[in-house]
């Protein structure tokens, strides 16, 4: 009997953009229940790595999500990604975003969970507003609520702590920790100095496009 496939398995991932090597021989594996923090200086390739992992960028190498090629539909049903700059519909309210998300991922209960997260982030009174009128931090909270509400086996977040107030950062850190404790895998990027003090996570350091153990 074979072991369950890992939530994320990256082998010898290479990304070249316009002839320039951005990522080189990146190999790592994320186990179920593991929270991994990808750190590195600006321009190290953290966001590029995440985008290559989820199939948004063409790459060489092998990326499998639960044993499936990362760009396949079955893989897409296993992970959720939130970019550093929230991608939101300016003509949908917060509540409508939550509903849309739940339907797209075929997880009806994600609607209520996203609304719970929004309430926890202090946006309960603004559920029927457009996000376009909201601050950067509030938009980030909506994007994170949508991602966390899904409770998918693999959660990938690019700079999720950016723009959040202190209380929300602690709330998010606790949420990610809980997600790991429940068996979900989490991969996130960040470079806040005090991030590692609030988030207990495996550290992956990316320097000049190469992963250091």
């Amino acid at each position: 009997m074979s072991a369950d496939p890992a939530p994320l398995n990256v082998v010898d991932l290479r990304v070249r953009l316009a002839g320039v090597s951005v990522l080189d021989e990146v190999t790592f594996r994320l186990a179920a229940g593991e929270v991994a923090l990808l750190v590195g200086p600006n321009g190290a390739g953290k966001s590029t790595l995440l985008r290559a992992v989820i199939g948004l960028l063409p790459s060489n190498g092998e990326v499998e999500i639960f044993g499936r090629p990362n760009r396949s539909m079955s893989a897409r049903s296993k992970f959720v990604f939130s970019p550093d700059d929230p991608a939101l519909y300016e003509d949908l309210t917060l509540r409508e975003h939550a509903r849309l998300n739940a339907i797209l991922y075929d997880r009806p209960d994600a609607d209520a969970r996203a609304l719970e997260w929004l309430g926890a982030f202090g946006l309960e009174a603004r559920l029927d507003e457009y996000p376009g009128t909201h601050s950067r931090g509030m938009r980030q909270k909506l994007a994170l609520s949508l991602a966390l509400g899904l409770e998918l086996p693999l959660t990938i977040l690019d700079e999720p702590f950016n723009g959040l107030d202190i209380a929300s950062q602690e709330l998010l850190a606790a949420g990610l920790q809980a997600r790991g404790a429940a068996g979900g895998a989490v991969l996130l990027t960040g470079h806040q100095r005090d991030l590692e003090s609030v988030l207990e996570a495996r550290r992956l350091e990316l320097v000049d496009g190469t992963l250091r153990a």
Partner: protein
């Protein structure tokens, strides 16, 4: 999951259409649009009524039609690889990454584009139907739907070539079929020269095949570079829209934004060198160099990093401008620049007179602006405008004066003609730079160039009118001195 896409479109499309309707109503006015449409219809009807059949029909249009239609599909195979339709950033992150079949996510945009292509084809076809009886003595009632369907088939072919990365029959089958159907009896070409309803069969068949193929190409995965290219194309579209809106609102500087960003995005789109680092660089000026040299370096770098064809065009124009300025000098001489009765040879006679001075000045302005580099708003920077003007003008002046010198030698002109040409060139370049910076229009706009040309030619016009063209060079020199003192 597909229901999620339907939910999204049901919420957003209606709102977007209402917002668009309101915006058009406020910005243009619906009654204005109705008024314009009525007049358009009147003009079209009036135009149609003037059509009278030729005495004899034009012969042999079929080979040309086959060629054009075949080329329409062949161009799809030969085109550079960018997606013919894209998802915007929100759709890409929300729908593109969700476990939704790609076709479901892209269907709305595909249909919009297909309907647009079909509408364009129908309009072209209606025009053809109107013209064909007069030109070819043919009735072509099915031209409109056929051309509409042909353009939809071309869209399908373009997508397939992109999606399958132009490899093999799977990518090319619709395009190749389109080329074949352009030529066969009862194919696309025959639809434009006949009245048989059988001509509808081929376009309907190819569209059905094309749609089915597009759908199957988007059953499971997105094409490998679709997401990254969509993000780049979204930025390019946003940039174009912002420039259009800025231009409409009168913010011309924003509308004529630095093309460097666009070039960088295009390089990223095709994954070619230049996306992350420049292809060509000039040596950096020394850190302790004077400010004007930094501006000169900036202008030269801008030129140096432009595509080769633009560099060639700029240099040709600069050489032409310098040559024309030399001819003006040769025609009028130092003391009679812009004289009504030029004393030079044949070329001098041809290019003499104040109007010729104005034409030369306009050409110098046009050529010079391409070498001035990007606009620079001083704002709070500790930069004096004289340094900015000197630095920006120096490369353009160098090139054009060099051309002027070469042309003067070729024309065998005296030094006086050369001086008058140099004075004209410098005046124009200084005015176009200063006016463009001061007014905010930017030197690249016609407004700044016209102002510069008019001002530089003013002494020639005025003094010729007063009958003292011999004073022109002195006045021109005085004008250059005054302009160089203006601190804007």
């Amino acid at each position: 999951m597909i229901a999620g896409v339907a939910f999204l479109r049901s919420r957003t499309v209606g709102r977007a259409m209402r917002a668009y309707r309101d915006w058009v109503g406020r910005a243009v006015g619906w009654w204005t649009i109705v008024y314009l449409i009525v007049w358009l219809v009147v003009f079209v009807i009036a135009g149609l009524e003037t059509l009278t059949p030729l005495a004899a029909p034009l012969a042999g249009p079929r080979p040309y039609l086959v060629g054009v239609l075949a080329l329409l599909f062949a161009s799809v195979i030969l085109a550079r690889r960018a997606p013919p339709l894209i998802l915007d950033r929100r759709d890409l992150f929300r729908l593109g990454l969700a476990p939704v079949p790609p076709w479901a996510a892209l269907r709305w945009r595909f249909m919009l584009k297909a309907v647009g292509a079909c509408a364009v084809g129908v309009v072209i076809g209606l025009g053809w139907t109107a013209l064909a009886p007069a030109l070819f003595w043919q009735t072509t009632p099915f031209a409109a739907p056929v051309i509409g369907l042909v353009l939809v088939a071309r869209l399908c072919a373009a997508w397939l070539v992109y999606a399958y990365r132009a490899v093999g029959l799977r990518a090319w089958h619709v395009a190749l079929l389109g080329i074949v159907l352009s030529a066969v009896p009862y194919g696309f070409a025959d639809a434009l020269l006949g009245a048989s309803p059988v001509v509808l069969v081929a376009p309907i068949a190819i569209v059905a095949l094309g749609l089915a193929s597009v759908r199957s190409s988007l059953a499971e995965e997105w094409p490998p570079r679709f997401a990254s290219q969509s993000l780049v194309l979204t930025q390019l579209q946003a940039m174009r829209l912002m420039q259009l809106m800025a231009g409409m609102a009168g913010f011309i500087r924003q509308a004529a934004a630095d093309g460097g960003e666009r070039r960088r995005l295009l390089a990223a789109l095709y994954d070619t060198p230049g996306a992350t680092r420049p292809n060509r660089s000039l040596p950096l000026p020394a850190a302790e160099a004077p400010v004007w040299r930094a501006f000169a370096w900036r202008a030269l770098t801008h030129f140096w990093r432009a595509p080769w064809w633009r560099q060639a065009m700029t240099l040709c124009l600069a050489l032409l401008a310098g040559g024309l300025a030399a001819m003006i000098g040769a025609g009028g001489g130092a003391g009679t620049l812009g004289a009504a009765q030029p004393s030079g040879g044949a070329l001098g006679s041809l290019f003499g007179g104040p109007l010729a001075v104005f034409a030369a000045a306009l050409l110098v302005a046009r050529a010079g602006t391409a070498l001035l580099g990007p606009e620079f708003s001083i704002g709070v920077a500790p930069v004096d405008p004289y340094s900015r003007t000197l630095g920006r003008v120096a490369p353009a002046a160098g090139v054009i004066v060099f051309a002027l010198l070469a042309a003067s030698i070729l024309l065998g002109d005296a030094a006086g003609g050369l001086f008058s040409g140099v004075v004209l060139v410098l005046t124009v370049l200084l005015v176009v730079e200063k006016y463009g910076s001061w007014s905010g229009t930017g030197a690249a706009r016609w407004e700044a160039q016209l102002v510069a040309a008019l001002l530089a030619a003013l002494p020639a016009f005025v003094l010729a009118a007063f009958g003292v063209p011999g004073w022109t060079f002195g006045a021109q020199l005085g004008l250059l001195f005054v302009v160089s003192l203006i601190g804007v």
